[in-house]
């Protein structure tokens, strides 16, 4: 009985590790940050399919791409590119913004 708690936690870890999702060809959409704005400001993605966003920071300052609704955050240094993976989304609009610069206009990911 005393080992059950350890086994229980190891099982949780194993479940995560063993059940790794099969790699697939996800749609990749590009989002560029330049002149204190995201381009495009509206990203259209297919609903119900996982996809990736390639964030290109073409500015001279670091940004933090963040989406509260999608629970994603990523710091992208000046001149750097980062990619984030997103799960299949139900149709709808999901906000994103630069958490380091609150004057930067928000953007939206539209899944349809």
């Amino acid at each position: 009985m005393k080992y059950l708690i350890v086994v229980f936690n190891l099982m949780l870890l194993a479940a995560g590790g063993l059940a790794m999702a099969a790699p697939g060809e996800d749609t990749v959409v590009e989002l560029r940050f330049e002149n204190r704005r995201f381009t495009p400001q509206t990203l259209n993605v297919p609903a119900n399919r996982p996809f990736k966003i390639k964030i290109v920071n073409a500015s001279k300052e670091a940004i933090e791409f963040e989406s509260f609704k999608l629970n994603r955050e990523k710091v992208v240094g000046p001149g750097e590119t980062a990619t984030i993976s997103l799960p299949a989304l139900t149709p709808g609009s999901y906000d994103f913004y630069d958490d380091f610069h609150q004057d930067v206009p928000e953007g939206a990911i539209i899944a349809k």
Binding site: K2, I5, V6, N9, G16, E64, N71, A82
Partner: protein, 275 residues
């Protein structure tokens, strides 16, 4: 709807299993009532946090409840200052200074902690997001904790269900220097479930506790288990908070604690490139 039924099973199973299978609680750190998410502080970002708790209704004898030294827990105020830095996209380092104010006493230095924390794989790549955590705890004042040096390891497990996030931090702790250094590993937990309602206001429930030694758990009534209804969120200018009362679920627990954590996050500059 499917999300919510899976969430309900997951959310109920974890704390119930932890509670039933476990008994406390040296692995419970009363200086830090915080559940860690999968995601680390961003690369080049510095976060300064003040982690505070006060025992509103505790015990008047030492080594009961959250007391780990010769001072009783009743009215004990604890503050930890934590400075974290995002080394890479996946690894952060942090240092803590722990302060405590016993009933009728002054606020004084209690010890320090140093840790590394990381995330494995990209977020969303696995069915659950996984991270790791390794910490060294140095206890300077035996009145607050009579074991000198401890090692703490914890896997970090997170799963999002729609607008809900479930975070699990099982805790494995080993005394490296102290009168109990020959004893084995202790087990504890810090788990949380949160509803991502608004960025500035996320209600949740947190669970903290411990069983004592894995090989020889403490008797059930001496264990500590707590439930904290909390609200947390992120305000403008990088300010974050998490507050809530905690209620002891066993006789060995303090009856009521209050926690209030405050953090400030700012980009400082990266020393390593993207990973």
């Amino acid at each position: 709807m499917k999300h919510y039924s899976r969430l309900a099973v997951f959310a109920l199973a974890i704390p119930v299993a932890s509670f039933l299978l476990s008994r406390p609680s040296a692995a419970l750190d009363p200086f830090e009532f915080e559940v860690y998410p999968y995601r680390t502080v961003g690369r080049g970002v510095v976060e300064l946090e003040s982690l505070n708790s006060v025992v509103a209704n505790g015990h008047r004898n030492a080594e009961v409840g959250t007391s780990k030294g010769t001072l009783p827990s009743q009215s004990m105020w604890r503050t930890a200052f934590e400075l974290s830095y995002g080394l890479t996209d996946r690894i952060e380092a942090a240092a803590y200074v722990n302060l405590a104010k016993p009933r009728g006493g002054d606020l004084q230095y209690a010890g320090s902690k140093f840790r590394l924390r990381g995330s494995l794989f990209d977020q969303g790549q696995l069915p659950v997001d996984l991270g790791w955590y390794i910490e060294l705890d140095y206890h300077r004042v035996p009145e607050f904790d009579d074991q000198k040096l401890e090692l703490e390891l914890k896997p970090i497990i997170q799963k999002d269900f729609g607008d809900f996030s479930v975070m699990l931090n099982p805790i494995f702790e080993k005394i490296l220097v102290g009168s109990e250094e020959k004893k084995g590993w202790e087990f504890g937990y810090a788990h949380g479930i949160y509803y991502r309602w608004m960025r500035s206001l996320m209600p949740g429930i947190e669970f903290y506790g411990g069983i004592g030694m894995i090989k020889k758990p403490d008797p059930s009534k001496e264990q500590q288990h707590y439930i904290f209804p909390v609200i947390k969120g992120e305000l403008s200018h990088g300010i974050e908070y998490s507050v809530g009362p905690g209620f002891g679920l066993t006789r060995g627990s303090d009856r009521v604690l209050v926690k209030f954590n405050l953090g400030l996050e700012k980009f400082f500059g990266a020393i390593f490139g993207p990973s």
